[in-house]
Amino acid sequence: MADSSRKEIEDLVELLNRYHLTELEVEKKGVRVRVRRDAAPAVSAPVAEPSFTLEAASPSPLLHSSGLPADLGQFLTVSSPIVGTFYRASSPDASPYVEEGDIVKKGQVLCIVEAMKLMNEIEAEADGRIVKILVESTTPVEFGQPLFLIDPQVSA
């Protein structure tokens, strides 16, 4: 992952920490920081430091703290369950499955991750609003890489 994206993820981690995640573990140069808040709802956070180093990959437009709503701790992360190429639409001419701000239903298709010529539809795991799309279309993604942030407290 490009340095600028990594920096942004670190910003995100900082914010997540500020907004009461149930568990957060950051390890860097032998220093491990672990933050936990048991009262909050469960959130699927990226477990490993994203370490994808494809040089071709352009920096993903990760979220900036300025554009974020205050209650970040409530968001769900949708991660890639497989290795492949991320597509926001079913074909180059089609419109994207979802845009930031859209309200989605549990089970609704959010994107495609193509692997070995197979189109794998990735579905929303819960109702909510798309807060952020973390990866640009046609970008390769690895296992566990965060793709979307969903605010489950906003539903249609």
Partner: protein
């Protein structure tokens, strides 16, 4: 030559392949499970892709994710290392079908040679000596008795689907055969879901001798002489050396020719190992062909001066072997100790975080490891964390160097098999020369009683 290679493995062998690629000017892609994100093989690769969670079946053995990683990184070839997908004919086949070179033999070769009864039958037909035994499975006592008498007692009853010593019974005299057949069948049925058994002559003190071979795409096959892997603990290799103290030049030549013949007979290509059992009278028997690079390949590299991983890559890229058999010389002696994270004298692994990791060095010492200070030994994977290889002008010097390097090797935070290797090297029988595959189990039994 390839521009970029994906290494479908972890640990020391992944790093070993990365080193070879670097020396050849080839870019590398590491794959890793989420718990391996900070491993050395990831750090030293040019690119890396997370392919799944910790369990090998979901990551390193996850064929779709491994192949997707190869596709999105645009590699020309995949090196499978050993273990994981290295001997998976299906994986090799899919690689072939999508135009990515599998650095190893063809999927057909893997399929043929991984079926031990097929391989055995094939070699027997070609006149290569195989272990005397029944032709296929034994169905009743009468049939078994005929074969056992022909072979002569003791014989061994083995499960067709067996492995790791299960379903095996040694039969010393006729009266024991029925019970052995029955209990072996029962155990095999319970363990593998298939109760078929067969009979082979039992060798009380065999030696495990294997020949490293390399075949290019143009019909050239050379061998790199033998490795003696007789130091085993419960059928697991512990320490290997080359040359074998049990072979003289005449036997070496004869076995080498048999190995080359075995490989040529199946039109094999890339690196492989032909395993033989050598009995106390100097007779050898084909056991199987390993269709991968092996853990113990460094001892062969030390005594021949040839980088087997680079040769694998060159051959896979379609290059012709630049030498013939007469150009391969044995010089000096090499011994490899497999350093496992385990409690000494027991088989229990010792996972944990390594708090100190001081490598031995100096003349004649090579260490292949992907471990480092603060590295983690995970319970999900093989417990081997390093290979210590000692080279010397002769066996005496190689032993002395390995011995002093074992004392220099300081690992803290986990238990290792270093004390076990000290015991082997300090043993007068081992020091004297050839021992059998039962040497180490006997040594450990003596100790525990």
């Amino acid at each position: 030559m390839f521009k970029k290679i994906l290494i479908a493995n972890r640990g020391e062998i992944a790093l070993r392949v990365i080193r070879a690629c670097r020396e050849l000017g080839i870019r590398t892609v590491a794959i890793h499970s989420d718990v391996d994100a900070k491993s050395l093989h990831v750090r030293y690769a040019d690119e890396h892709v997370c392919v799944g969670p910790a369990e090998g079946g979901l990551s390193y053995r996850n064929i779709p994710n491994v192949l997707s990683s190869a596709e999105i990184t645009g590699v020309d070839a995949i090196h499978p290392g050993y273990g994981f997908l290295a001997e998976n004919a299906h994986f090799a086949e899919v690689c072939e079908s999508i135009g990515i070179t599998f650095i190893g033999p063809s999927s057909e070769h893997i399929a043929l040679l991984s079926d031990k009864s097929k391989a055995r039958a094939h070699m027997k037909k070609r006149g290569i000596p195989v272990l005397p035994g029944s032709e296929g499975e034994i169905h009743d006592l009468k049939e078994g008795l005929v074969i056992a008498k022909r072979l002569g007692f003791p014989v061994i009853v083995k499960a067709s689907a067996g492995g790791g010593g299960r379903g095996m019974r040694v039969v010393w005299e006729e009266s024991e055969l029925l019970q052995a057949l029955e209990s072996s069948q029962l155990e095999a049925q319970n363990a593998f879901g298939h109760g078929g058994v067969y009979i082979e002559r039992f060798f009380e003190d065999p030696r495990h001798i294997e020949f490293q071979v390399l075949a290019d795409h143009y019909g050239h096959v050379v061998h790199f002489h033998e490795r003696d892997c007789s130091i085993q603990r419960r059928y697991q290799k512990v320490l290997e050396e080359s040359p074998s103290p049990a072979l003289d030049d005449a036997l070496r030549r004869k076995m080498g020719q048999a190995a080359v013949e075995a490989i040529k007979s199946v039109k094999y290509r890339n690196a492989g190992t032909v395993e033989f059992l050598l009995d106390q009278k100097g007779r050898f028997y084909f056991m199987e062909v390993n269709t991968r690079i092996q853990v113990e390949h460094p001892v062969t590299e030390m005594v021949t001066g040839i980088d087997l991983i680079k040769e694998q890559i060159r051959v896979a890229a379609g290059q012709e072997l630049p030498y013939r058999q007469k150009d391969i010389h044995l010089t000096g002696h090499a011994i490899e100790c497999r350093i496992n994270a385990e409690c000494p004298d027991k088989l229990t692994p010792s996972p944990g975080t390594v708090t100190k990791f001081h490598l031995p060095g100096g003349p004649g010492i090579r260490v292949d490891t992907a471990m480092d200070i603060n590295g983690v030994v995970h319970p999900y994977y093989d417990s081997m964390i390093a290979k210590l290889i000692g080279y010397g002008r002769d066996r005496q010097e190689a032993m002395a160097r390995v011995r002093r390097a074992l004392d220099e090797f300081e690992i803290e935070g986990i238990k290792t098999s270093i004390p076990l290797h000290r015991r082997i090297l300090d043993n007068p029988d081992f020091q004297k020369g050839p021992v059998s595959t039962r040497f180490l189990d006997r040594l450990l039994t003596l100790h525990s009683t």
